[in-house]
């Protein structure tokens, strides 16, 4: 097998504050092959966005990528590069598409200027050539009358248009890897469909790899070949997309799938995952999901599970892999036993837990 | 002011120092009748003790009428501080009422009220005060406070209005309206408490600038008038001979400078405490 394009090994990204050390990403390893689309799913606070930022080394203090982490991109360890060398990679070999296109664009420059700037930085193109390239990119991402639009400012465009601009900026240099952090979360569903379509078309043309960060399993199902489920700063399950939807192994993945209302799914009661995501300063010992898990038994309380091999290319961080009989004995999870009230155990403790879509607190 | 804001304020060293200074000055003013070494108006020996440089018996010297400058400074603080605090209290109240009504009710009322503010704000305040005070020779302290307070609230009212406008649009305000609360309850119970923070900052900064303004006016002889001592008119007393009677300008000048500075520091620290996004030292 050939070397994957990106290999993340043992990534730890911690945030240091007076409330303690937040272990936002706590030992994450995965690979993205050339031309592949890999999804990272999880709820707010699971560490997926910090993982994305870490790969580009955009984690700002008080956050820090810890010693021992490795980010092998095309054979080089990104963590060994100088900031100068890293800048040559960002926007060039690895590009990022953010959730909120309005804040990703600079309001005081026209969109044409902003796209042109990318090729001026990385290729030293002349103003005129860079402009021509910008217009070409706008055509490519399906913006009508691109010469006109290039002269407009971000606020003059709709949300969907802006996201197309952001994608155009990301693709100027034909990057090998595009990291898309919730690229459609801020968009309406019909516009989301357009943007997902656009991304996969761009991928067909340019053959880049995509790392898709999202909370929406539907988006994963429609765009990805492989999926990584994160919880508590760790990977809890990784498999092909087909396996995860057919035969999810980890109880958290199972819970996520059950909690999702689906079109055509009628009105059967949604299963919930009781409780909330614990704070990254105090991950539970043992399995990090044990207190919310309907199958947990005494082993889960103290024994932190490794990633077990479940099948070909399918791993799960759950002791059920060794003792599957416990799956037949569901019970109210620990948080509910403690509380007696559905789903609100340990609530009200400091700050945010489960969380809203605003992820700014992590950046 | 919530306990949380107070805690964040107190955590800043500069705020603790400034508050300490202000407390000392205020205490000295408050206790002046007890701790002042001399009667501030008494002319002890108009011949023998006039215009004495600082000494052990008169640490800040005496003026040309042989009055003790330290005692006058302490009594002057009572006037200067209370004029400033009361005037700022007045302008803060006016600003709050005007801005709250304009911002909360909005629409044409708001437009008219804000145009009035635009008009008032275009009049240079110092010239206006000089004009009024210069013509009006019998200005008593309450009138001075009314004049200072009544001309100092225009900018703040605009700030209050902006804040009230933005708080009024929040969903928690819509929620109490939907519960059936009346305007008065909504405005006083839900809007103003959330809009108060910038007013407090403005008040802290305002006390400083009013002390400076009163000092200036009194120095020009149109502010606090004799026999009342204020920091401004003590300086004025010595102004005929600044180099010869340097202690008469230096000490009250220092008192003004320190107080104004302390007020500004408290104001800025308060701003940071209210909104931690403000970086220390960031202005406006």
């Amino acid at each position: 097998m050939t070397e994957p394009l990106l290999k993340v090994e043992n990534l730890h990204t911690f945030f240091y504050s007076e409330n303690g050390v937040a272990r936002a990403v706590d030992g994450v390893s995965f690979a993205v092959g050339a031309g592949e689309t890999v999804g990272i799913v999880g709820e707010s606070g699971c560490g997926k966005s910090v993982t994305a930022l870490s790969i580009l080394r955009l984690v700002r203090p008080p956050g820090r990528i810890e010693q021992g982490s490795r980010l092998l991109f095309d054979g080089t360890d990104l963590l060994g590069l100088s900031e100068e060398q890293m800048r040559k990679i960002r926007g060039n070999r690895i590009a990022m598409v953010f959730q909120e296109p309005m804040t990703a664009l600079n309001p005081v420059f026209t969109v044409g200027e902003q796209i042109a700037e990318v090729s001026r930085i990385h290729e030293g193109k002349s103003r005129k050539d860079a402009w021509a390239r910008a217009v070409e990119m706008l055509t490519l991402v399906g913006i009508p009358s691109p010469e006109q639009r290039a002269k407009e400012y971000p606020h003059q465009l709709s949300g969907g248009m802006r996201q197309r601009i952001v994608i155009a900026m990301a693709l100027v240099m034909n990057p090998a890897l595009v990291i898309a952090d919730e690229p459609t979360t801020a968009l309406d569903v019909t516009i989301q469909a357009q943007i997902l379509e656009l991304l996969s078309e761009m991928q067909r043309r340019a053959g880049m790899s995509i790392l898709m960060i999202t909370h929406d399993l539907g988006v994963v199902a429609e765009t990805c070949t492989r999926v990584i489920v994160m919880y508590g700063g760790e990977i809890v399950e990784e498999s092909s997309v087909g396996d995860v939807f057919k035969a999810a192994h980890h109880p958290y993945t199972e819970g996520l799938l059950g909690a999702m209302p689906r079109v055509g799914g009628g009105q059967e009661r949604l299963t919930t995952i009781p409780g909330t995501v614990p704070p990254p300063t105090a991950w539970p010992v043992g399995c990090r999901f044990h207190d919310r898990c309907p199958y947990a038994w005494d082993r889960c309380v103290n024994d932190h599970p490794p990633l077990y091999q479940i099948g070909a290319g399918h791993v799960s961080r759950c002791h059920l892999a060794e003792e599957p009989e416990y799956r037949n004995r569901p019970h109210p999870p620990l948080v509910e036993q403690v509380m007696g009230v559905g789903g609100v155990a340990q609530g009200g403790a400091p700050g945010e837990r489960e969380n809203v879509k605003d992820r700014s607190e992590l950046t | 002011m919530t306990a949380e804001v107070w805690r964040r304020l107190w955590r800043q060293r500069r705020a603790r120092v400034a508050l300490g200074l202000l407390a000392t000055i205020a205490l000295a003013a408050l206790l002046a009748p007890v701790i002042a070494p001399y009667d501030p108006i008494a002319q002890h020996d108009i011949i023998g003790l006039k215009s004495q440089a600082p000494s052990w018996s008169h640490p800040f010297g005496t003026d040309q009428y042989s009055r003790d400058v330290l005692s006058r400074l302490m009594y002057g603080a009572r006037i200067s501080l209370s004029v400033a605090v009361l005037a700022v209290f007045l302008s803060g109240t006016l600003a709050l009422a005007w801005g709250a009504v304009a911002g909360y009710f909005g629409g044409r009322l708001d437009a008219v009220m804000m145009r009035i503010i635009d008009g008032l704000i275009s009049i240079p305040r110092v010239l206006l005060l000089l004009g009024i005070l210069g013509v009006w020779s019998e200005v008593t302290l309450p009138v001075l406070i009314l004049l200072l307070g009544g001309t100092g609230w225009f900018g703040v009212s605009r700030m209050v209005r902006a804040e009230v406008l933005s708080v009024s649009r929040r969903d928690h305000v819509a929620a109490v309206r939907a519960l059936g609360a009346g305007d008065w309850r909504i405005l006083t119970g839900h809007v103003l408490p959330n809009a108060l923070a910038p007013v407090l900052v403005a008040v802290a900064l305002g006390v400083g600038s009013l002390i400076a303004l009163e000092g200036g006016l009194s120095y020009l002889g149109v502010g606090v008038r004799p026999p009342h001592a204020s920091w401004g008119n003590i300086i004025q007393d010595g102004s005929m001979n600044v180099t010869g009677l340097w202690w008469m300008s230096l000490f009250p000048g220092l008192a003004i400078a320190v107080t104004v500075l302390a007020c500004n520091v408290v104001g800025e620290a308060l701003r940071d405490a209210v909104d931690p996004r403000h970086l220390p030292g960031a202005h406006d």
């Binding site: 709820e43 709709s158 309406d188 689906r262 055509g264 | 044409r108 819509a174 109490v176 519960l179 059936g180």
Partner: protein, 366 residues
């Protein structure tokens, strides 16, 4: 231009509706000067009519800017509507004076989307929930304390939390507090304005289940506003779809998801990503963006983006009435048969293609 816009009420209903909204409009002036002259207006809500029956959930879906939230707030007069009528339990809401309106508000409540701005940061949770009790003099003193604790418990929060402040809670818990605040005055009807849109999926499920339990226990009626068609399918009895300030389709949940007839609804349904990689299917991808509500397209507001095979000139000229295509299934489209806009009328407006029943597979979810 030929067919008058239908303002007649959609259909006679057997039970008396709890809420009846008729031809509701809200135009926001834009670019007006000091004296309100010389501006155009944004037609945020442009002639919306529907009923909500006691104890039922009407879903109101649409994309951002379609006017769904404005509709919800205009019904409660949190925004004053420009025209139309709203009747709640026999009372004409828009004609009430301020005192009577405040009385009526006990019966009509609202839950908001944003768990941050919807709670007063300076009030304890107990004080927030108690506010309604105090305003309507429902309880005071120890009795009020007891009620607040019961309410917190009912929405799944620990009663001891009543002394804490909103910032100490997570997004889902704050939504529960907002629900308790609304329940305090014992309403019959709640406008749920995207109450789960800002929440993570597992928490969203908790809140959806809570809303359903409360409806069952208290017989509440909901107007459930959302952009997420899957949540709406899960919770609603009937669904109204809005586009550019108008209701373009209104049907029972079963009918709407089984047989969406408005081409816009079809596109909306087909755009929902399906969490099943085996079921990847064709999709109707709409071209372009939603036009600006300050200058909506003529005729059918959806015609510039429409994919109906019989779309023609007439669609740009005739404002489609919201009319019954099947029993209880209202659709605003002159090209979906049957229609009350006759073929002669359509031809007079330049039609070249007769109406036909069009239901692409891409719009259906197995």
């Amino acid at each position: 231009m030929t067919a008058p816009h239908s303002v007649a009420h959609p259909r006679p209903l057997t039970p008396d509706p709890l809420l009846r909204v008729t031809d509701l409009r809200k135009y926001f002036p834009v670019g007006t000067g000091l004296f309100g002259r010389g501006g155009s207006s944004v037609k945020a809500v442009d002639g919306v009519s529907f009923d909500v029956l006691p104890g039922e959930t009407l879903g109101l879906v649409g994309e951002s800017g379609c006017g769904k939230s404005t509709t919800g707030r205009a019904i409660l007069r949190l925004i004053e509507p420009t025209s139309g009528s709203v009747t709640f339990a026999g009372q004409s809401v828009l004609d009430l004076g301020s005192t009577a309106l405040r009385q009526l508000r006990r019966q009509m409540q609202i839950i908001f989307q944003d768990p941050f701005s919807s709670l007063n940061p300076r009030m304890s949770v107990g004080a927030i929930v108690r506010e309604g009790l105090t305003i309507h003099r429902l309880a005071e003193g120890a009795e009020a304390d007891k009620r607040v604790k019961q309410l917190l418990q009912e929405v799944g929060l620990r009663p001891e939390y009543s002394n804490r402040y909103p910032h100490e809670f997570s997004g889902g818990q704050r939504q529960r507090i907002g629900i308790a605040r609304a329940l305090a005055v014992e309403p019959k009807f709640i406008v749920c304005d995207e109450p789960v849109s800002a929440l993570d999926v597992s928490v969203q499920a908790q809140v959806v289940n809570l809303l359903q339990d409360l409806q069952r226990d208290r017989g509440l009626a909901y107007l459930f506003i959302a952009h997420d068609l899957s949540v709406v399918e899960h919770i609603a009895d009937r669904v109204a779809v809005m586009y550019l300030g108008k209701v373009v389709e209104l049907a029972t949940r079963e009918d709407l998801y089984r047989e969406p007839l408005m081409p816009y609804t079809q596109a909306l349904l087909s755009a929902v990503p399906v969490p099943n990689p085996a079921a990847r299917r064709d999709r109707i991808v709409l071209t372009g963006d939603v036009p600006s509500p300050s200058n909506p397209p003529s005729g059918c507001v959806f015609h510039p983006r429409c994919h109906h095979p019989a779309k023609d000139e007439a669609c740009a000229r005739i404002v489609p009435p919201l009319e019954e295509k099947a029993p209880g299934h209202l659709v605003a489209c002159i090209k979906q048969a049957p229609t009350t806009v006759t073929w002669e009328q359509q031809q007079a407006a330049g039609a070249t293609r007769p109406p036909e029943r069009y239901l692409p597979l891409a719009a259906l979810h197995a």
